[in-house]
């Protein structure tokens, strides 16, 4: 039931903001909707402590489209719960980050598209039915495409089109694989009734021959890998992240790529576990190559936003490697790190936004000495930065540590190479921090005054989640871990 509400609130918000009556005060209404959404997600979270996991409040399952036996099946539990919470949380931050006049006359449209995106991703994270999973998956692409197209920077037409086609291309294979699996679910019962249910997919996948599994595996992998992105399918990512308006980048990096990771975790590995194990070395090689490759690229970036795009690619490459390594520790680590990454990457892009807002630039070479001008901002930035390089007692540490532990089970060398990102991450982040924040004040025409209240509280919120979950990661792991035990059975 909570799941329904979580999808309904942003959907209502979307339509509401498109009606003229709400347009003039779009920001206030948008914040109202995401605020309520966040509260409901929190209620859903706390209900997981008390309510029965299968209780109506947390799980709904209706027939939806009888002709193809598609169900409306939502389950607010485990990793779905954690990502739903993340989705609700990050949108509060995203909407708070929007400046007056940033989106001009049509700001209502930005908020509406954002809410539509939130609703679609909520669907992706909550549904246990492949058909609606696919529908939500593609639906999520449309608003972000429009946001990039309408408010992107110079060259947006080409870059957004490339982004759209690239990811759409991946999803086609995913759809084909889903239909293939759907056909095979007929073998599961006497009546030959087909089903889109995730558990039936798990069953059907195991009936496939090794070759069939391999084909399904690679088709699904393609779909998810583009979204994450996994090397070498990443080339849409840095351009798109850099070109999007900052809120779009936050949606993409904080949330949308989690769709890919979530898909990998729940809609690929348990579906064709045989092929997943068979191809483990290849997929690990790809994802870990990507980790190092992206880190090396991050070393030489001059635009802080693009640096973060590569940093994010390195970090999610490690999460992907964790999922592909396919054991208890890496899955737990990946679940933890998905949330942690969502929070700190949103925080880091928020920092980019503040650089642009206060100084008009985000080029590392043009900034310097900001610590002299605003100590509070420097401290908040530093904590978020430390969260991103996974210092213990930040949430990222629990995630990365578990992932590396699990990966070293496959082979110590994998962990050594993946672990190099621990060092490289510190190098490029501290270098950038030093150049932008430390040193004497650069004699340019900018000042860096006190933070606006909304910015301050957004960063406080981010820092709170980084530290609280770093000190007590069980708050989420308690639920995700049980969920993961079920799929690893």
């Amino acid at each position: 039931m909570i799941g329904n509400i979580l999808i309904l609130i942003p959907l209502i918000g979307f339509f509401a903001l498109l009606t003229p009556a709400f347009r003039s005060n779009a920001r206030r209404y948008a914040l109202f909707f995401v605020g309520i959404e966040f509260l409901v997600a929190l209620i859903g979270y706390f209900l997981n402590y008390s309510a029965n996991n299968n209780a109506f409040l947390l799980k709904v399952d209706y027939n939806w489209i009888n002709a193809i036996n598609a169900h409306w099946h939502l389950h607010l539990t485990g990793v779905s719960l954690s990502l739903a919470l993340l989705n609700a949380l990050i949108f509060v931050v995203i909407f708070l980050s929007v400046e007056k006049n940033q989106y001009g006359e049509k700001s209502y449209l930005f908020y509406a598209l954002g809410l539509l995106m939130q609703m679609a991703m909520m669907g992706v994270f909550l549904t246990k039915d492949a058909f609606s999973f696919y529908v939500f998956w593609e639906l999520a692409l449309i608003p972000i495409y429009l946001i990039g197209l309408m408010w992107g920077a110079e060259g947006k037409e080409k870059i957004t089109l490339q982004f759209f086609l690239y990811t759409f291309f991946g999803s086609i294979f995913m759809l084909a694989a889903f239909i293939y699996l759907y056909q095979h679910t007929a073998l599961l019962n006497e009546q030959g009734r087909k089903s889109w249910d995730i558990l039936d997919f798990y069953q059907a996948g195991k009936l496939l021959t090794p070759t069939q599994q391999t084909i399904v595996f690679w088709m699904l992998f393609l779909g998810f890998a583009v979204k994450i992105p996994i090397f070498p399918l990443h080339s849409w990512q840095p351009d798109t992240y850099t070109n999007m308006p900052i809120q779009g980048t936050m949606m993409l990096s904080g949330l949308m790529l989690k769709m890919g990771l979530y898909g990998l975790m729940f809609w690929l590995m348990p579906v064709v576990p045989y092929a997943a194990n068979e191809w483990k070395n290849v997929t690990l090689l790809l994802s870990i190559t990507g980790v190092i490759y992206a880190s090396l690229n991050a070393l030489v970036q001059t635009d802080f936003k693009r640096l973060l795009a590569y940093a994010s690619m390195a970090h999610v490459g490690l999460i992907a490697a964790g999922i592909l390594a396919f054991n208890k520790q890496t899955f737990d680590g990946a679940a933890t790190q998905m949330f942690a990454h969502g929070v700190y990457v949103a925080g880091l892009f928020y920092i980019v936004h503040l650089f642009e807002k206060h100084t008009g630039t985000r080029l590392i070479s043009q900034l310097g000495g900001i610590r002299n001008l605003n100590g509070q901002f420097s401290n908040l930035f530093l904590i978020i930065l430390l969260g991103s390089i996974a210092l213990p007692l930040t949430h990222g540490f629990a995630g990365e540590f578990l992932i590396l532990t699990g990966i070293s089970k496959i082979g110590l060398m994998w962990a050594v190479i993946a672990g190099l990102s621990v060092i490289l991450g510190a190098v490029y982040m501290l270098r950038a921090y030093q150049k932008m924040m430390l040193g004497d004040v650069v004699k340019t025409n900018y000042t860096f005054g006190a933070l606006d209240k909304k910015d301050k509280w957004s960063l406080f919120l981010i820092v709170f989640f980084i530290l609280f979950l770093g000190i007590y990661p069980q708050a989420l792991n308690l639920f995700t871990s049980l969920n993961i035990n079920e799929i690893l059975k």
């Binding site: 690229n297 208890k328 520790q329 532990t405 070293s408 190098v427 501290l430 430390l438 990661p473």
Partner: protein, 626 residues
């Protein structure tokens, strides 16, 4: 015990948070009281915990507060482990830490970042206590990286200067390289032995010999080389002197850099199973001890001399560990904490008097102007040089005796390093305090002794440096080696000296004679002959230049690691990203455009053509489905 330990650790954290958030609005007095008070209170509680620990039969207290990181078999609690080893460490950390906090009130008084400084310093104490009290490798690692962070923050405390910022960054990154070793060791430990918690690993029969044990021990040692500045990861420590001097005393001499020794002693269950690992530790640390001592003989910066001295002394401690003399090394950690903290604080007092000058070529004759600083530093210098009955003599002698029993070559290296220590320390002392003042008459007038808030910590540390040896008097004298026995229950394989009394006396004699000869040599050079270090680098002989430039190791690392890495980054970015991958994508889109163009040509808009095409297609399809 649970609440006492929690308070010991949390009090400095609370102090740090209060000063960090509210510090700017509080008076400097209050900031100082909060910071020193929280650490002082921690010290008192540590004493209580220490006394209480003696009542517990096996002197181990394990407290779990909550489950921290949990995944399948991996179950890491947030909890503390007080035993003989950690009980000594917390006393040193909070005790010496308290004195340095007090001293800092005077030293940092003029600084605009006063409250920020104390916030960082308190945070450091918090993490350092986490490091030694954590009851698993993962919680040790919390402290391990946490102190690295505080070290970063404090080295770069004066953040306007990019040289300092570079030093801070270098320290953090070099430590991270070691930390990766630590992380990998933990992953292996869990995968082989199923746990990271001391209580499980110390269960008899859990850790048994396998090749993994050696690997774990070596990876842990890699971590230790980062934190405790051993070859190959030592070059950050001399640069770390960019931080305020009390920071150098607390972090880069007395406590944080000895974390590596703590970790190896804590892991003796692994080391004692692997002779290879022990040998690696012994050889690397022996070379480091000598290497750094050689460099120290030609430095002019008073803090740099002490920094290299620290690297060398840490090498000596690891040398003891490599010989299996765990308790002797811990003993040296403690005495070193006293006299090296004192030396740094004394150096701080000198720098304070000299108005920020750190070059010993510009000093001289300071003993009359700053007598308290002089006398306390004299005691520390004697102590570090290994002259009986000062503390350094006993701890160093014990280590060397064990090394002698194990490996004569390493013993010789240790003795030479010790002789060099006596030489460069007295060189520093003579050039700073004896002779005549070389800093100009203007500065001479301004020379003044530091305020009481700075000199009292010096005096207390001087007393400790003098009598610290009482903790571990050699059995040779018919006395009981308290620390050796105290640590017995944390060490799995104990190493007892099997040397005859004559040999021990001879070794002791050699050490003392060596130190005496070095001091005499330094006296001849710098006092009798009045030799001064050359003013200009050009006057150095080639081998002196090599030593003065620290064997060009920084340049080596720069050219073999940093530059190739950046070059690789450029290749990835300029070639792979911007040419290769862009090219592929553009190629695909151009091909698509081309095909579209071609298909468009077939769509010529002639109905008859379409109908014919359709008919043919239908026929083909029907034939195929037949």
């Amino acid at each position: 015990m649970a609440s006492i330990l929690l308070l010991i650790v949390l009090l400095p954290l609370i102090g740090s948070i209060i000063n960090g958030i509210l510090g700017k609005n509080l008076s400097k007095h209050l900031v100082g009281y909060i910071a020193s008070g929280s650490v002082g209170l921690s010290f008192v509680l540590s004493l209580i915990a220490f006394i209480q620990l003696q009542q517990i039969p096996d002197r181990i207290s394990n407290v779990d507060y909550y489950r921290w990181i949990v995944s399948g078999m991996l179950d890491i609690p947030m909890g503390f482990w007080l035993d003989s080893l950690s009980s000594l460490y917390i006393l040193v950390i909070t005790g010496v830490g308290f004195l340095i906090h007090i001293y800092s009130i005077g030293y940092m008084h003029e600084d605009e970042g006063f409250s920020r400084y104390f916030s960082y310093l308190n945070l450091f104490v918090f993490f350092m206590l986490m490091l030694v009290l954590g009851n698993s490798y993962a919680t040790m690692f919390v402290g391990w990286e946490g102190v690295g962070l505080c070290s970063y923050l404090l080295i770069g405390f004066w953040f306007k200067n990019h040289d300092y910022n570079n030093a801070a960054k270098k320290a953090f990154i070099m430590n991270r390289i070691g930390d990766l070793g630590f992380i990998l060791a933990m992953t292996l430990m869990f995968n082989s032995f199923g746990s990271l918690n001391y209580i499980d690993l110390l269960e008899p029969g859990v850790v048994t010999y396998s090749s993994t044990v050696t690997l774990i021990a070596l990876l842990l040692f890699l971590g230790a080389t980062g934190k405790s500045a051993q070859i190959p990861l030592y070059t950050w420590l001399p640069d770390a002197m960019a931080g305020p001097t009390p920071v150098s005393a607390l972090i880069h001499a007395a406590t944080m850099v000895t974390a590596g020794i703590y970790m190896v002693v804590r892991s003796n269950v692994f080391y004692s199973l692997s002779e290879t690992a022990m040998n690696v530790v012994a050889v690397i640390s022996g070379i480091t001890a000598l290497w750094a001592a050689i460099i120290a003989t030609l430095q002019f910066d008073i803090k740099k001399i002490l920094a290299y001295s620290t690297v060398s002394q840490l090498g000596l401690m690891f040398l003891g560990l490599g010989a299996g003399a765990y308790s002797s090394s811990v003993f040296h950690v403690i005495t070193h904490a006293f006299f090296k903290a004192l030396l740094f604080l004394g150096a701080g007092s000198v720098i304070h008097a000299m108005g920020g000058e750190q070059d010993i070529r510009k000093m001289g004759g300071l003993s009359k102007k700053i007598p308290i600083t002089y006398f306390t530093m004299l005691i520390a210098t004697i102590a570090i040089s290994g002259i009986p009955p000062f503390s350094g003599f006993f701890s160093k002698d014990e280590i060397l005796a064990h090394v002698y029993e194990n490996n004569k070559v390493l013993w010789l290296i240790g003795v030479i390093a010790s002789m060099l220590t006596a030489f460069y320390m007295f060189r520093m002392l003579f050039l700073t305090f004896w002779g005549y003042f070389r800093g100009g008459s203007e500065l001479y007038k301004h020379l003044h002794e530091s305020p009481a808030v700075m000199t009292y910590p010096l005096i207390i540390l001087a007393v400790l440096s003098a009598i610290g040896g009482l903790l571990g008097l050699p059995e040779l004298l018919g006395t009981k080696n308290w620390i050796g026995h105290y640590l017995d229950n944390v060490i799995i394989v104990k190493s007892y000296l099997g040397l005859s009394h004559e040999t021990e006396w001879i070794l002791m004699g050699i050490a003392v004679a060596g130190a005496g000869a070095s001091i005499y040599f330094a006296y001849q050079l710098f006092v009798v002959n009045g030799m001064l270090p050359v003013e200009d680098e050009k006057e150095l002989k080639w081998w002196q230049k090599v030593i003065y430039h620290k064997f060009y190791v920084d340049e080596l690392y720069d050219n073999t690691i940093r530059k190739p890495l950046d070059f690789l980054g450029k290749v990835c970015w300029k070639f792979f990203e911007n040419i290769l991958f862009k090219g592929i994508i553009d190629g695909i889109s151009n091909t698509t455009m081309f095909l579209g163009e071609w298909i468009r040509k077939i769509h010529i808009g002639n109905i008859a053509y379409y109908i014919m095409a359709m008919t043919i297609s239908i026929i083909v399809i029907l034939m195929m489905t037949k």
